[in-house]
């Protein structure tokens, strides 16, 4: 730890790491990076290439951002967790997830970070439901989202409207927690439960999201059922797990120190 070499690639003064998980997003990555550079404010960008079969990593490198390429496919959770690991190692104060498919908007990053910077929360989640104009979704997806809302509330004790949102920002104590505990696939709903039960304060911030620009979503129709069952089971099981007060206290102590 702490060796000077390790901090070589962190931009002086930058305390925010934008984690961009990307798998086969060569068609989108240019726009995503351009958007971040134009609107994200001072930050370092880390593209985590989840072993793409296209040239996502090469394109990202040519744009001059930090790139980590996983030696094999770990899934979205494993990719984002790689970012957490990197953020912890490099000592960033904040890390945020910004998907590589172009569905998130970089000009909203500042708003997402505001509650963290002011010490109001450890985790901020961008919510489509709270955004002006709102978000409805259709059919099966809507039913699923309702179910997750209810499930998340039942297992975490807090009300999150957009439980599947991947647009999230974390403070260092939450990052340290997630390095050790973050589900590999479909991590969004489950991680809310883990974080809430570990005593981290979670807030939602309104956020618009775009339809994906190109390529296909990682969640195909046939995996939706698996998604529902897996997430439900995982959330319920982790709710039955005893809370860890020591982590909780640690997190609060950290929060007080930073505030």
């Amino acid at each position: 730890m702490g060796a000077p070499k390790m901090t070589v690639s962190r931009t002086a003064g930058a305390d925010v790491l934008v984690i961009v998980p990307a798998r086969n997003e060569a068609a989108n990555i240019d726009d995503v990076i351009a958007d971040l550079r134009a609107h994200a404010g001072p930050c370092d960008i880390l593209v985590v290439d989840d072993h793409s079969t296209d040239d996502t990593a090469a394109r990202a490198r040519s744009l001059g951002v930090h790139v980590v390429r996983l030696p094999y496919n770990l899934g979205i959770g494993g990719a984002v967790q790689t970012g957490f690991r990197y953020a912890r190692r490099m000592g960033y104060r904040h890390a945020l997830q910004f998907d590589g498919d172009g569905q998130h908007a970089a000009d909203q990053i500042d708003e997402l970070l505001t509650p963290l910077r002011s010490g109001l929360a450890d985790v901020a989640i961008g919510s489509r439901f709270l955004a002006a104009g709102g978000f409805r979704g259709t059919g099966m997806r809507r039913v699923g989202m309702r179910m997750f809302q209810w499930l998340s509330r039942a297992t975490s004790g807090i009300r999150i409207t957009d439980t599947t949102s991947g647009f999230r920002a974390y403070r260092a104590p939450a990052i340290r927690f997630l390095v050790d505990r973050y589900p590999s696939d479909y991590p969004e709903v489950e991680s809310i439960t883990h974080l809430a039960r570990a005593g981290f304060r979670i807030v939602e911030v309104p956020a618009r999201m775009r339809e994906r620009q190109a390529g296909t979503s990682s969640i195909g129709l046939k995996r939706t059922v698996y998604y529902l069952v897996k997430v439900s089971l995982a959330s319920v099981v982790s709710a039955g797990r005893p809370r860890k007060p020591r982590r909780d206290e640690q997190a609060r102590a950290d929060a007080r120190k930073r505030a």
Binding site: S9, R37, L70, G78
Partner: protein, 131 residues
């Protein structure tokens, strides 16, 4: 009860004892070749020795069954086999889960270290303002 099947019983007993000895020998062999970790060898040793014990003292099994209130010995045997098979499978699931987690962590660390190594290389050219 007249023990009219004594010859056959003895024969099958010999076969069972022989198989148990082979099992124990192959477990030892696997450990010596380094192909089986000791922590898993304990399971197989325990199983083989238990089998050996009941092969030698065949009536002990019936005695245990009767003690537990199971009238028919073979059904007790079935219960034991099913239950221990189930336990082994759970155990291996736990081991696999742990390995998956460790493997994931290793992959993440490797990817990060590779990136840091590249950065050091890139300082000799090719690195832009690196934001």
């Amino acid at each position: 009860m007249p023990d009219f099947s004594d010859v056959q019983t003895t024969r099958i007993q010999h076969i069972a004892i022989g198989l148990c000895v082979i099992l124990i020998a192959s477990v030892i062999g696997l450990i010596r070749k380094g192909r089986l970790r000791e922590e898993y060898a304990f399971i197989w040793f325990g199983s083989a020795l238990t089998l050996l014990f009941f092969s030698v003292f065949r009536r002990a099994f019936d005695a245990v069954a009767r003690f537990l209130g199971i009238a028919y010995g073979p059904s007790f045997l079935l219960l034991v086999i099913l239950f221990s098979g189930f336990l082994f499978l759970v155990h291996f699931s736990i081991v696999i889960s742990r390995h998956t987690e460790e493997n994931k962590r290793l992959a993440q660390e490797v990817a990060i270290l590779q990136k840091l190594a590249e950065k050091t290389d890139a300082d000799h050219g090719g690195a832009k303002d690196d934001r």
